[in-house]
């Protein structure tokens, strides 16, 4: 059990696309424990991807239960996660442990269907919405070498201004 060092942008390793987990072994369980310790060491942190601690595998953890008034499945383990369905889209504010002192608005799907695997290699299915769905999308982005900075939208675009359309 250990708190790992978190990589900070512009570290190039944050841009690597992570590779699938193949061995559901002791090493995986130990790493997930360390990743969870690291996530919980950040007071407001609701998710952390292996990419952020320099591990190039498709692993992340999400837990939004520390936020009051938000629907939560508790800790969700993401191993080789896939989003198989998206619905709606919504603007929300995001920040990142790998991008200190900056937050910005990002558009995400409002609800998603998630396929992932647990530590024993068994497939799990989740229907997620709102803040929790947003957290999962943010972490899967890390596994694809993307940061929320890649998806920023202007604050001024919250309510679109239009010319006259005739």
């Amino acid at each position: 059990m250990a708190v790992l060092e978190i990589l900070v942008y512009p570290d190039e390793r944050l841009k690597q696309v992570a590779t699938p987990v193949e061995n559901f072994d002791r090493e995986l369980r130990d790493f997930v424990a360390d990743l969870e310790d690291t996530m919980r060491s950040g007071p407001a942190c609701v998710g952390l991807a292996a990419t952020q601690v320099g591990n190039p595998l498709r692993i992340a953890i999400v837990d939004v239960s520390i936020k009051p008034r938000i629907r939560s499945h508790g800790r969700i383990l993401l191993i080789n996660p896939e989003i198989t369905a998206w619905e709606g889209h919504i603007v929300g504010r995001e920040g990142c442990m790998s991008v200190p002192d900056y937050t910005g608005n990002v558009i995400r799907a409002e609800s998603i269907t998630l396929e992932t695997f647990d530590l024993s290699g068994e497939k799990k299915l989740y229907r997620l919405e709102g803040f929790e769905a947003r957290a999962v999308q943010h972490e899967i982005d890390h596994l694809d070498g993307m940061l929320f900075l890649d998806r920023l939208v202007s604050r001024r675009n919250d309510l679109f201004r239009r010319k006259n359309y005739k």
Binding site: R93, G95, R156, L159
Partner: protein, 173 residues
Amino acid sequence: MNNWFMLTVVGKDRPGIVAHVTSALFDGGCNLGEASMMRLGGNFTIMLMVKHKGNTKSLLEMLSSVTASLDLHAHIDRIEGELHRHVEPDVRITVFGADRAGIVAKVTGALAEAGLNILNLESDVGGSENQPIYIMHIEGCATEGIESLQSALDVVIKEGIEAKLTPVETLIG
């Protein structure tokens, strides 16, 4: 010694203002901090943090040929440059309706009394010339809680202004 200044620039909008102003500053050895630049009613406006080795006068001189050629008004204040200390908003308020005198004063007055600290405010006048509509976005901190702001806003809404308050939950992941 490096000092921080707030540079304010206003002029009739035209292409190239940002490029020319920032090139002059770069050539003069300045560093830039945070900025807000936008077109407001046909004018281009810049509020820009500038780090400069000299004083207000030398900074104005550095910009004099650009401001003269693009017909810009520049103003400079010495400031404390606080970078890396962002305050996160926890509430967003959108107000819109038929444009009429006093909307901003009424809404922000009620919200200030209920503990709102505004971090960012942007407003536009849209619609047509005959029927202008006013749209305002505010992001800020609810220092006395969201409920307090909502109660204050409910009073304003009863008076016929459309306003919506949304808590901002910033996701850190």
